[in-house]
Every structure is written in C-alpha cells, then in structure tokens.
Symmetry: C2
Subunit: 124 residues, 2 copies
Amino acid sequence: MQRNHRGAVSLAEKFATFDQAFAPRRVAHVNDFVVKVIKVRGAFVWHRHEATDELFLVHRGTMTVRYRDRDVVLNAGELHVVPRGVEHMTLADATCEVLAFEPVATVNTGDAGGALTAHDEPFV
Amino acid sequence: MQRNHRGAVSLAEKFATFDQAFAPRRVAHVNDFVVKVIKVRGAFVWHRHEATDELFLVHRGTMTVRYRDRDVVLNAGELHVVPRGVEHMTLADATCEVLAFEPVATVNTGDAGGALTAHDEPFV
C-alpha cells in the first residue's frame, strides 16, 4: 500500500480528483495515522468513535460539526477535534473540502455503520 | 495540560499570537499526536527523527524541506511527510506559517539537539 508521495502534495489537486460526498480519499500517512480528504455535502450519520479523537481542518467552504447539545461551525483555515466517545455528525449546505486526521483503523461511520461506511479508501 | 479547544480553532488567530521563528506552539491534540503551528524563517538545523514520520502543511508562505539529495518546496495548501530516520532541515527566506502533525513526544531538533530545541511548547 502506498504510504506517501515523495514531493509536495497539493490539497487543491487532490480535491479535484473526485466529487462524491462523504467518500474519503487518503493522501498521506504519518506513522499509524492517516490524512484524508473529504467532501462534506449534505448531512452525515450520527456516530461516535469510542477509541479515538478525530481532527477536521477545513480547506475550502464551511461545515458544521454537530453534537447533541451544540454546533461547531468551521470555515476555511479552522480546525476542530471531536473527542473520542462523543456522538457527532458533520453537515454542509454546499460542498466543503475538509482534511481529516485520524488513526488508519478508524471507520468513518464509527459505531453507526450503514450505507455511508467507507471501505479501503483509495490513495490519491 | 490543556488538550483541545471546545470550538473552532482559527489557524490565522493562532499564528498571530507569536512571531518567533522555529518556536512551535501547540493548538490541538489527537490521541497521542499533536498539531503544532510553527513560523519557519531562516534555516533550521539538520536532524532526523528515528522513530517517527513528521507531517508539514503550509498555511501561508513558502518553505523548503531540504534532504541531503533533494529539496521539496511547499506552498500554501501543500503538505509533505518527512519519513522517519531521514535527515532533513526546513528553511524559508520569508516567514512561512506551517502546521506540523507528529507524536507528542517528538523533539523538534530530533537527534541534533542544540539551541533551537523547544521545551514544553505552550498551548495557544
């Protein structure tokens, strides 16, 4: 499995390779962590990751990280860490380009599963 | 020790809190990894991290990751992973605002040590 590119990785170029919402692509690995690029558009499913935190960093656009008791709105150049074990979902009206940083073994839908679960996200 | 902010973290705001070159600040933790903001200006020391990869993502400006046999130039919105065990240094003519992802235990100067070694980087 490819781990990393030898040169500079342009996030804009990587985001241009796909349009599907909530279909993460891998762009780099850092030890047992992976950097994914995700297009958030519409609403994801409620879920939690029992064993891991999850970082989101917005590259372009605006998204919301929704918790049961509050919303965190993220614009370009803003990041937020979802604490392990806390139920959340992501949503965006228009396409939002987002970087995620999490352990390689993390499943995007956490404990929820279902149709939006990603398998073997391609390396782009 | 503070781990994470409850809301959105603006990278621009965090970079505005300091000016010192090669003096990392922590902005978030993801499990045992840390996200640091660094201003690269001038040339760092040659060093390697035996046990860990290190990710750099340029927020603003241009920097070079120099290896013994090649340079990788990074502009805003570009990232690069320095493989573990490989000697490298970072440099920039003008201030470059950079995000780094690496294990909490990583020492910025790796095996080299010296005056530029950062201790207990503050959380901003």
